[in-house]
Subunit: 191 residues, 2 copies
Amino acid sequence: MTEADARRRLVAGAADMIRRRGLNATSIREVAKHAATPLGSTYHYFPGGKQQLAAEAVRFAGETVGRMLAGQLAAGPVDGLRAFLALWREVLVGSEFRAGCPVLAVSVEEAPDEDRLAVLTAAAAVFDGWETQLADSLRDHGVADGEAEELATLVVAAAEGAVALCRAQRSTVPLDRVAARLESLLTAAAG
Amino acid sequence: MTEADARRRLVAGAADMIRRRGLNATSIREVAKHAATPLGSTYHYFPGGKQQLAAEAVRFAGETVGRMLAGQLAAGPVDGLRAFLALWREVLVGSEFRAGCPVLAVSVEEAPDEDRLAVLTAAAAVFDGWETQLADSLRDHGVADGEAEELATLVVAAAEGAVALCRAQRSTVPLDRVAARLESLLTAAAG
DNA sequence: GCTACACTATGACGACTGTTATAAACAAGG
DNA sequence: CCTTGTTTATAACAGTCGTCATAGTGTAGC
């Protein structure tokens, strides 16, 4: 029953801890404890050690958001944008501004050896995936190729940055301001 | 001679290490070594320990950027924007995408106790300072109050987020795309 | 000279880290 | 029953962390 269930709990728990504390402050011991899993099992499920667990956590978070984004983008790019920003808003207020995006978190801690390069590569793929989803939706609604790419990157970058600003200021004001500007931008381009 | 010089080296070195590795991975021992300062001296200059050193490093980085921003904003908001983005671009390429913004770095690592709350508060003040500088410049060029604030927040959030995207993807493409969109936005609003 | 004070040097403390090894428990298949 | 393989339990490793204490060096003022 709990065969691969413990594994999933480990990945989800790692993603949750990373988005709060960052990668370096997330210890395998605490992830295991939080997932009610023995420490020894961690290296059984993830022979690659911490970097493998972290990379899977990043991909897990990326796919979770990506799935939700795909569903909402079906109703148009502006609806996708609104859902994207609403999701981050919930993460912020639901954690009292203590949690953010795990993908961003791993992107701002250096990758000295080849170990963490795998994590960084996973993060890059997640960001690129979100951008591609948004850009495709914009193109489907008549936005030119170059403008669609630029707008998609702007949305992802501004949302990620705004989440960080909100955590620092412990307020949703930055995210709300960014939401207002992005929404009018996308409405003008694809409306 | 080196009275308060060693102190400044410690702060600047801490800022440099934080923007590369993040706060948790930046150890006082390495900061001291990198600044050619004995470890014991660190607690002489910073009785508040790591949190005080980190908070001063965040303020140091904030003031350095803020001074440059003030100078370029004198020529108008679009010139300020260009200089702001160019600065981050230099940080990225000059470090081969290994360095980013120390203020963002400390903002995405949880603050459990009251210690790190001081660091987070410093980061919030820095972000707010940059936003205020940009918003004031926009207002001086005829942009309405609300729109100026929204645009200023968008610029800071998008720039910070774009720097993180660039680090993950090891490319300046995200920052360049964001730059193109922001520039046309500010030109339309304050041109 | 000598006292006062800013700084350095050195070493230790308890706690935590990622990782590995080894032995025990457990399930399923024959 | 017994064997095979997956999962757990426990302990240990070498290293680093933030922090503190103590003794020593210097240098400036009287």
